[in-house]
């Protein structure tokens, strides 16, 4: 960072104007891509917003996607606070799914409210376990967490193929998926509760996990800013050497932060496996682990920001599905492009506009100072 860009800016600029500016550029370029394809970007935006927020079924789907992204976004954010880049949310969520499926298949037929706590616990335990090895290797053996978590994503994917093909698939079928859970064991859809009240969520798979996601966000806020462990995590993230002087063991904090991160990623699996698909599928995470990176960057690793960014991505995903339906030329891959641009501009290029803004905001002040003298 050069000296001009390190200059203090008002908080409103740092936490409001700059993120909005970065996002606007990302969306502007996305608009240009749509234009290059030969469609009208404004029309596309209108279709997306109508599809995501214009009717209650759309809102249901939007919130369902949001739930996934809140979990992975919080997972990446907690790791960020500890100065770690957890690219492994995808793999950790995949393993979480294995945990959920094992619980649901074991207690198949039991009422969901009985199975639910065990499914939550299993998803978190499996997700955390998959995060443990990279965390331990980083903390105690000095290997780089980015590389190891990438490797663990692929290991998770390979393991999943083996488990589903060799162990869990139903005899006589070729498709790599587990048996479907009994109706009683599935998480209930919110649409079944809301229809009597006149709210029609249509076919949207929104389920009680959306409330768990909100609780998780509150938990992360309390953890990071209101507990001793949170203070240790932030200290290690800012300056591991200072942490050692303060009597903190950075290795220990790294491991604990990654376990929490993995557990949060694992929770996504309850939403997908127990709440939506009702069976274990290959690649059910479908990239949500990577959306978590975009969401955490956009939300500046603050739980409130993560929830807002997840909502934005929920809108993008649901709206994108509708858009692909109405404008076949703009396939769902457009969402991946938007996601990439958001990661690029809100993440890697986040300081691009800072020096300019500093100059812009300093000039009136400098002029005023000269005038006053």
């Amino acid at each position: 960072m050069s000296s001009t860009s390190r200059r203090e800016l008002p908080l409103v600029v740092d936490y409001g104007l700059i993120p909005i500016l970065n996002l606007s550029v990302a969306f502007l370029i996305s608009g240009l891509v749509v234009l290059a394809i030969g469609e009208n970007p404004l029309e596309a935006v209108a279709i997306m917003i109508r599809g995501a927020l214009g009717y209650s079924e759309g809102i249901g789907f939007t919130l369902y996607y949001t739930t996934d992204f809140v979990f992975t976004g919080l997972a990446v954010a907690v790791a960020f606070h500890a100065g770690l880049f957890n690219i492994g949310a995808e793999g950790q969520a995949t393993l979480g799914g294995l945990g959920v499926a094992l619980v649901c298949l074991t207690f198949d037929g039991a009422p969901w409210w009985l199975v639910f706590p065990f499914a939550l616990a299993a998803s978190m335990a499996f997700g955390a376990a998959w995060a443990f090895v990279p965390a331990w290797a980083q903390a105690r053996r000095g290997s780089h967490i980015v590389i190891t978590t990438i490797m663990f994503n692929y290991l998770a994917a390979t393991l999943m193929v083996w488990v589903l093909v060799e162990l869990m698939s139903e005899p006589g079928t070729m498709s790599p998926e587990s048996r479907t859970f009994a109706e009683a064991t599935r998480l209930p859809f919110l649409r079944d509760f809301l229809t009597p009240w006149g709210i029609d969520l249509g076919q949207s798979p929104l389920n009680p996990m959306v409330f768990v996601a909100i609780l998780a966000a509150i938990f992360v806020w309390v953890l990071v800013w209101r507990t001793r462990l949170g203070f240790q995590i932030r200290t290690v993230g800012k300056n591991p050497i200072a942490a050692v002087y303060a009597g903190i063991d950075p290795g220990h904090v790294v491991i604990v932060a990654m376990l929490i991160s993995g557990a949060l990623s694992g929770l996504l699996a309850v939403n997908e496996v127990m709440g939506t698909q009702h069976r274990l599928l290959l690649e059910f995470v479908a990239g949500a682990g990577f959306v978590g990176i975009a969401v955490a960057l956009m939300g500046r690793s603050h739980p409130f920001g993560v929830v807002l960014a997840s909502l934005l991505f929920g809108i993008l995903y649901q709206g994108g599905a509708e858009l692909a339906f109405e404008k076949p030329k703009i396939s769902r891959d457009m969402i991946v492009v938007i996601q990439a641009l958001v990661i690029l501009f809100a993440g890697a290029l986040e300081h691009m506009f800072r020096p300019g803004l500093v100059k812009l905001l300093d000039r009136p002040r400098a002029v005023a100072a000269r005038g006053g003298a």
């Binding site: 960072m1 050069s2 000296s3 891509v33 394809i37 030969g38 880049f85 690219i87 090895v133 990279p134 290797a137 053996r141 000095g142 290997s143 780089h144 980015v146 590389i147 190891t148 990438i150 490797m151 663990f152 692929y154 290991l155 390979t158 393991l159 193929v161 083996w162 060799e166 990577f290 990176i293 960057l297 030329k329 703009i330 396939s331 891959d333 457009m334 969402i335 991946v336 492009v337 938007i338 996601q339 990439a340 641009l341 990661i343 690029l344 993440g347 890697a348 290029l349 986040e350 300081h351 691009m352």
Partner: protein
């Protein structure tokens, strides 16, 4: 088993292992250039994918594999420069930028492929004349060794008869070594990855060197992608890199950031891949049927074990991943 019979069995697997190692080798060397200069690149996968798409489309458009190679290299360099701009000029987080590159390529290739060709993201099927095909390199040696068995088979299936890009990738190994370890430019480039302040003090531009490294990285990823779409297959299909960029990254760690080690690591990983295909469903004597997934998982597992320091130590260039700040 008599030696000739063994060679007959081993030759096809070795040959296919080499062919599978080529994209890994290009990408691994690409990563080596970038990371030796201090720019961490987890966007190898994305650049390969973008190059594969560009080369497939250009080869179909201009009916020439060379047009494909050129387009692949140019597009890949374009992506590399985005990464360079973010990590060198803007001093952004290099991991984040790499992730963005991967997604940008994954999304744009399929999006544009669908708009242009309407085949679910594929590019048009390439004719034989639009591809890099195996060159007839018998030189009479294969015939002299006995055409269809034993050493003759090793010659014809492992050494000769590959396409041009295979030999290019093999030539890139000593070339990389020579440039990086035997020229002034190479010394500076490696220095910039270990101690950029020293290079800056000597009056050499840190950013300039890093940009050059990133461009070479882009060109090599371009070759990797072109190999996939125009040599190995007859056109681009959605997500055709399928994680090869990350295996290349693993190979780079495995190779401890050295070119000849990179060759060894990529050949090993390619061979594992070939064996997984060859041994699918075939029981091994004394072990029984080994699940394919074991072979698929080995490169990743070995890399994790290596990184944790259990088999030797793999230490990246000191300044890699750290943006350079001049004012100190």
């Amino acid at each position: 088993m008599d030696p000739t019979g063994f060679l007959d069995l081993a030759a096809p697997v070795l040959g296919s292992g080499l062919r599978l190692a080529v994209p890994l080798l290009f990408a691994c060397l690409a990563g080596l250039w970038s990371e030796r200069s201090g720019v961490v690149d987890i966007g190898l996968e994305g650049k390969m994918l973008a190059a594969a798409f560009a080369s497939g489309a250009a080869a179909a458009q201009f009916h020439s594999p060379w047009a494909g190679l050129l387009a692949g290299i140019l597009v890949s360099i374009g992506f590399a420069l985005i990464h360079g701009f973010a990590s060198i000029t803007q001093r952004g987080n290099q991991i984040v930028s790499g992730v963005a590159i991967n997604f940008l390529a994954a999304g744009l290739t399929v999006l544009l492929g669908q708009v242009w060709y309407g085949q679910g993201g594929r590019t048009p099927q390439l004719e034989a004349s639009e591809r890099f095909l195996g060159i007839d390199l018998d030189l009479g040696i294969g015939r002299a060794l006995g055409e269809s068995h034993g050493l003759g088979r090793v010659w014809s299936e492992v050494i000769a008869g590959h396409n041009l890009l295979v030999y290019l990738s093999l030539a890139a190994v000593p070339a990389t070594w020579w440039i990086l370890w035997r020229t002034r430019f190479g010394l500076r480039l490696r220095a910039v990855g270990d101690n950029p302040h020293a290079v800056d003090t000597a009056g050499v531009s840190v950013a300039g060197l890093r940009y050059r490294a990133v461009i070479v990285c882009g060109a090599l990823c371009g070759c990797a992608g072109t190999y996939l779409a125009v040599a190995q297959s007859a056109g681009f299909v959605r997500d055709m890199t399928a994680g090869k960029g990350f295996i290349a990254l693993a190979a780079l760690v495995f190779a401890k950031w050295k070119p000849f080690n990179a060759l060894g690591a990529c050949l090993l990983f390619g061979l594992l891949d070939a064996m997984a295909i060859r041994l699918q469903g075939t029981p091994l004597p004394g072990i029984g049927t080994v699940p394919v997934q074991v072979f698929q998982a080995l490169p990743y597992a070995l890399t994790v074990i290596l990184l944790a320091g259990f088999i030797g130590r793999s230490i990246p260039p000191k300044a890699s991943g750290i943006p350079y700040t001049k004012d100190r």
